[in-house]
């Protein structure tokens, strides 16, 4: 007698059941938001807390939850439990993968042309430089997370090490950018090894937390070691980069004067743009080459199964350390670039949020896919820029997006992995088929 009723309840959820779910959700939302949204507290002039009610906002939020759960429930019934991927017919998908081969070159050519197309639009150029910085950071972190499968939540520490290396060396000793750039990379790599050594035995979540703690330690030391780093005031007056010794300014020795063209401040922006593009492409090139070397193969093997790795005689110690060092080195390069671009660095630029943002780019990009990381950086930074007016809501949306992406497509939006070794023909593997071991 009971079986049919449960059956109907499961499949054909009628309007009453729909309303009931929505009602329960709205009720939960009402309790959740009742105090946090319905009442607003603020410290008054004398330090005394006052409060006022915002029942209108509360009501509209609860109504939104009610409406939203009806819509989601309806969508779920129409689309069914099938994921979005299976809705795409195979013909379309093969066409997409055919097109996909041209995305990377087309994107590269477009990127090279950006300063030409948007020559006088300073805003777009600045944004492009920012996106490329994150592309570079993403590709750098991708070595650690995407290839070696080591979840690093403290990547921003290496970015900070790079930035402060250049900032301090340049302001204290007057060293040029081109000497400091490799030094920043080496120092960051050194810190990568220093972090890597103790955490070799850790895996998964523990590793993530330790790297997070490491990132916070670096930031706290920067804040508190005021004699060296200037503490919260940061380092200012960091010299701008020169075109291999020739300054990009309005002086007689400047590049513009030497080339005999009229000086424009845009020159420096464009130089910075090509500089970061070159650095990012260097990262990408190095990563692609490394993946074909034994060490790169070892990274990917480590990601898939650490125990099997050891059984096959791969030295997991050196494999992990090189992954950390390589990723950290690219982070250091990016940091040095950041310092020279900004001319000012302070600990505020190196918070956990930055680490999470770069990690989100790598995850969204499908962990291991170079093109995916680039597109994800573009989407993420572009999205941040679009929501710039909604300052407070930006990180809220970012967090929600992170949760939703994990639920909807945990393998990232563009998640596929091109195999490095194949028999006759390279065939992209759907990310669903890839399963990580514990690493």
């Amino acid at each position: 007698m009971k079986a049919p009723s449960t059956h109907t309840a499961k499949t054909a959820t009628g309007i009453p059941a729909l309303l009931k779910t929505a009602f329960i959700n709205a009720l939960v939302a009402l309790v959740l938001f009742s105090l946090m949204v319905g009442i607003r507290t603020e410290a008054g002039a004398s330090g005394q807390l006052t409060y006022w009610t915002r029942f209108g906002d509360l009501a509209s939020l609860v109504a939104a939850v009610f409406g939203g759960s009806i819509v989601i429930e309806l969508l779920r019934q129409w689309i069914g439990p099938i994921g979005a991927e299976k809705l795409v017919p195979p013909a379309v998908r093969s066409g997409m993968s055919f097109l996909g081969r041209f995305v990377a070159p087309a994107l590269l050519i477009f990127t090279l042309l950006v300063p030409v197309i948007f020559y006088n639009q300073r805003y777009i150029l600045d944004l492009a430089i920012l996106v490329l910085t994150y592309v570079m950071l993403g590709w750098g972190l991708n070595v650690v997370v995407g290839l070696a499968g080591l979840l690093d939540l403290g990547y921003v520490a290496f970015y900070a090490v790079g930035a402060y290396s250049y900032g301090l060396l340049a302001t204290n000793f007057g060293w040029s950018f081109w000497i400091c750039l490799p030094l920043a990379g080496i120092l960051a790599a050194f810190w990568g090894v220093l972090l890597g050594f103790p955490v070799l035995r850790l895996r998964g979540d523990y590793l993530a937390i330790v790297t997070l703690a490491f990132g916070e330690i670096i930031r706290l030391v920067i804040i508190n070691w005021q004699d060296l780093t200037g503490g919260p005031n940061g380092v200012s007056g960091i010299p701008r980069p020169s075109f291999f010794g020739i300054p990009l300014d309005n002086s007689d020795d400047g590049l513009a004067a030497k080339l005999g063209i009229e000086y424009s401040p845009t020159h420096r922006i464009i130089f910075l743009f090509y500089l970061i593009l070159a650095l990012a492409l260097l990262t990408n090139w190095a990563t692609i080459r490394l993946r074909r070397l034994p060490i790169g193969r070892a990274w990917e093997a480590l990601r898939e199964d650490e125990v099997a790795c050891r059984a096959l005689g791969i030295n997991t110690t050196t494999t992990k350390l090189t992954a950390f060092a390589t990723g950290a080195m690219f982070g250091g390069f990016a940091g040095a670039f950041f310092a020279t671009r900004q001319g000012f660095i302070s600990p505020e630029s190196f918070t956990f949020q930055e680490s999470a943002l770069v990690l989100a780019i790598v995850v969204l990009g499908g962990m291991g896919s170079q093109l995916g990381v680039a597109l994800a950086a573009l989407a993420m930074i572009g999205g941040f820029e679009l929501f710039r007016s909604l300052e407070g809501y930006r990180m809220l949306v970012f967090g929600m997006a992170m949760v939703l992406i994990m639920i909807w497509r945990p393998r990232g939006l563009i998640g596929h992995r091109a195999p490095t070794v194949y028999l006759t023909k390279a065939q992209a593997i759907s990310s669903d088929l890839v399963k990580e071991g514990h690493g």
Partner: protein, 305 residues
């Protein structure tokens, strides 16, 4: 010596708060095997709800402090527990069989959501409250005039912690729910086969963890007299350190670890430097994980192929 004794008291009080948060981490890790990164923010939400409830009750004209405290405790526990339940339902349950890093990343996202939600909803400024519970006892007065104080609020924090721990230990060891929780911790599939509602048990774990975090939030509010939207991050990492130090998955370990972290932090501030107290706590996390990954009371993790 007197200075030492005073710091010991302060450290134990701080440690009780960390211990209450750490229990939430250790329970969730024991059953679901994930670090609930958003737990520190649940603690922060608990503090905020306690603050708002305080304000409402006072403006309603209530003056009996024990009654106010009781109501605030119950309200903030109840609502924060619902937060814990909702977070599990939205962000973790759909990912239970996803790949290894997914719940962790989802938890980081959830942590951002909670932090910024309370910033948007309640503003970025620090919220102070006037001291509710005043007075205390002078335990000892030395000849040079240094006084060891034991304030009423410190007594309250420690007593509440002990009572809650006793209640919680009873819950885990004697009730049906506790038995289900222990069963799920050992083997979820087998527990499900034997009729344990695994989903419900996991939900209840989050609910209890959040309720304890809410108590910690209330204690923090009373002890320090303020809350702000960013306090969950650092407190969360320290409580996680406590859970790891005590041996993750072990409930007495979490409390022990909490006390240890509270004491270390207090003594570090008292004798070395206040600026580097967080560095000390984070360094302990790293050192413990490297040299003693199972913690003080934890079981060694068996590596399965």
């Amino acid at each position: 010596m007197d200075y030492f004794a005073q710091q010991l008291i302060n450290g134990l009080v701080l440690g009780s708060i960390y211990g209450l948060i750490a229990i939430g981490y250790t329970m969730v890790y024991g059953i679901v095997g994930m670090i609930n990164f958003a737990h520190g923010d649940v603690f922060m939400i608990g503090g905020f709800i306690a603050l708002i409830t305080f304000l409402i009750l006072i403006s309603l004209g209530l003056t009996a402090i024990p009654l106010i405290l009781l109501v605030v405790l119950l309200v903030s526990m109840a609502i924060t527990a619902l937060y814990g339940w909702t977070i599990e339902r939205i962000a973790y349950r759909p990912l239970r069989h996803s790949f290894r890093l997914a719940p962790m990343l989802s938890a980081i996202g959830m942590s951002f959501v909670l932090t910024n939600y309370s910033q948007v909803a309640q503003g970025a400024r620090v919220k102070p409250i006037p001291p509710f519970i005043t007075g205390g006892y002078t335990l000892h007065e030395s000849t040079d005039g240094f006084v060891i104080q034991l304030s009423n609020i410190q007594i309250m924090v420690v007593v509440t912690t002990i009572v809650l721990l006793a209640l919680f230990t009873w819950l885990v060891s004697k009730t049906r729910l506790g038995r289900d929780m222990r069963a799920c911790e050992q083997d979820q599939t087998m527990a499900a086969l034997l009729g344990v509602d695994v989903d419900r048990t996991i939900s209840m774990t989050f609910v209890i963890g959040a309720a304890l975090a809410a108590v910690a939030g209330l204690m923090y509010l009373l002890y320090y007299g303020l809350v702000d939207f960013f306090m969950g991050f650092v407190a969360g990492i320290k409580a996680f350190t406590a859970a790891v130090l005590g041996g993750i998955g072990s409930l007495p370990g979490a409390m022990l670890g909490g006390l240890a972290i509270g004491l270390i932090e207090t003594f570090w501030s008292a004798y070395f430097s206040v600026e580097y107290k967080d560095v000390a706590a984070f360094s302990i996390l790293i050192v413990v994980l490297i040299f003693m990954p199972t913690g003080l009371l934890g079981r060694p993790e068996v590596e399965k192929v």
